[in-house]
C-alpha cells in the first residue's frame, strides 16, 4: 500500500505536485482501466504520535452519511473528519485476482 507521500518518494516529486496528484487520481478513478483502489488511514488528531491505521471503506462512507467518523480506538465521534483521513492506494482487486489466477 502507498500513500501520496510514499508514491511521491518513488516518483521523486513533491507530494503536493498537482500533476502527480492528478496522475494518481487518474489511475484510481478510470472506470474501465482502474489500476489502483483508494482506501484510507485514520490519524487520531489528538495523538501527535499517531502512525495511522487502516479504516474500512464502509466506515468512511458511513461518516459521510452521518457527518462524523467513529474513532476506531475509543468509539468517540470525530467531526471535521477529512483532516484525519489520509488516502492510500493498493493495486486494484480485479488486477490482483487476475494475476493470481494466471499463476
Amino acid at each position: 500500500m502507498w500513500t501520496f507521500k510514499e508514491l511521491s518518494n518513488l516518483a521523486e516529486v513533491e507530494p503536493s505536485d498537482p500533476i502527480f496528484i492528478a496522475s494518481v487520481q487518474l489511475l484510481a478513478s478510470r472506470p474501465r482501466a482502474k489500476l489502483l483502489d483508494m482506501h484510507f488511514l485514520y490519524f487520531d488528531p489528538s495523538d501527535e504520535a499517531s502512525i495511522g491505521e487502516p479504516i474500512p471503506d464502509e466506515e468512511v462512507a458511513q461518516a459521510y452519511l452521518t457527518g462524523f467518523l467513529i474513532d476506531p480506538q475509543d468509539g468517540r465521534e470525530v467531526h471535521h473528519f477529512e483532516r484525519t483521513l489520509v488516502p492510500y492506494f493498493m493495486i486494484n482487486d480485479g488486477i490482483t485476482a487476475q494475476n493470481e489466477s494466471d499463476r
Binding site: P15, P18, P31, M38, G52, V60, Y64, E82, V86
Partner: protein
C-alpha cells in the same frame, strides 16, 4: 507530509482538479443529484471559459464538432459523456450511475432555432425520472456577441413559456429556467449557457482617426515642451 482529504481539497486550484478529487470520493460519498449537477455545471463553465480563449480557432466549426469539445472534456476526467439515444438523439448525455444530465446544443442563429432545440430537450429527450431532471442549452454564439444572444433568448423564453421562472445563472452569459416534463409532470431545471464564439477582429478594419492622431501629437508636444523647460 501525508496528504489528508482536507489538504487535497484545499490544493485543488481549478474546477478540473476539484472534480477529479470529487470523482475519486464518489465511491465513499455518493453525491446528491443536485450536488452532482452543480459539479458538472462548474466544469461546463470552465470548459466554456477555455473555449472563449480559443474562439479565433473554433469559430465556424459545426454544432457537432463544438459539442464534441464538451464531450471529450468530460470523458478526459472519467465522466461518462456521449451523444446518445435518449428518446431520440440527444447532443450530450452525461451520466453517473442512475443520474443523467442532458444537453441540447444549437448554433444560435436565431431565437426560433434555439426554441426548437429547447422543445427537443424539454419535450422529447428528457425522461423526467428521479435523478434525471436537469439539463442545459449550449448556445454557440457565432453571429453576434454572446450577451446579446443570451438576452434575446431569455426575453423570448420568458414570453413564450409562462412557467419558465427565469432566474439569473452562475455567470452573466447564462440563466436558469424551469419547465414541466410532459411525460412525468416533474419540474425540469434548465441551465442556458452562451458559448462566446463571435470573433471579428477590428485591427484590419479600423484605422486611427486624424483627430485622434492630432490629439496624440499635441499631448507629446506638450510633454516635450515641459521637459525642455525643466532643464
Amino acid at each position: 507530509m501525508n496528504l489528508t482529504v482536507e489538504m487535497l481539497r484545499q490544493a485543488a486550484r481549478n474546477p478540473v482538479e476539484t472534480l477529479n478529487l470529487e470523482i475519486l470520493m464518489w465511491k465513499f460519498e455518493r453525491p446528491s443529484y443536485s450536488k452532482w449537477v452543480g459539479q458538472l455545471e462548474r466544469f461546463l463553465l470552465h470548459i466554456t471559459s477555455l473555449i472563449g480563449t480559443k474562439r479565433d480557432r473554433l469559430k465556424g466549426l459545426s454544432e457537432d464538432a463544438l459539442t464534441s469539445i464538451f464531450d471529450i472534456s468530460f470523458q478526459a476526467i472519467n465522466i461518462s459523456s456521449s451523444a446518445k439515444a435518449v428518446n431520440g438523439n440527444v447532443d450530450l448525455a452525461i451520466e453517473y450511475e442512475d443520474y443523467m444530465w442532458l444537453g441540447e446544443a444549437k448554433i444560435a442563429h436565431s431565437v426560433s432555432v434555439i426554441y426548437g432545440g429547447y422543445l427537443q430537450l424539454t419535450s422529447r429527450y428528457t425522461t423526467g425520472m428521479l435523478g434525471q431532471t436537469s439539463g442545459g442549452m449550449l448556445l454557440y454564439c457565432q453571429d453576434e456577441r454572446a450577451d446579446v444572444t443570451i438576452a434575446g433568448w431569455k426575453a423570448a423564453l420568458s414570453k413564450q413559456v409562462s412557467v419558465s421562472n427565469v432566474q439569473p445563472g452562475p455567470t452573466d452569459l447564462s440563466f436558469r429556467s424551469s419547465d414541466m416534463c410532459a411525460a412525468t409532470g416533474a419540474t425540469l431545471d434548465i441551465l442556458h449557457l452562451a458559448v462566446p464564439l463571435h470573433h471579428e477582429p477590428q485591427e484590419e478594419l479600423r484605422k486611427l482617426s486624424p483627430a485622434s492622431s492630432m490629439a496624440a501629437r499635441k499631448a507629446r508636444d506638450e510633454v516635450k515642451a515641459r521637459n525642455k523647460a525643466a532643464k
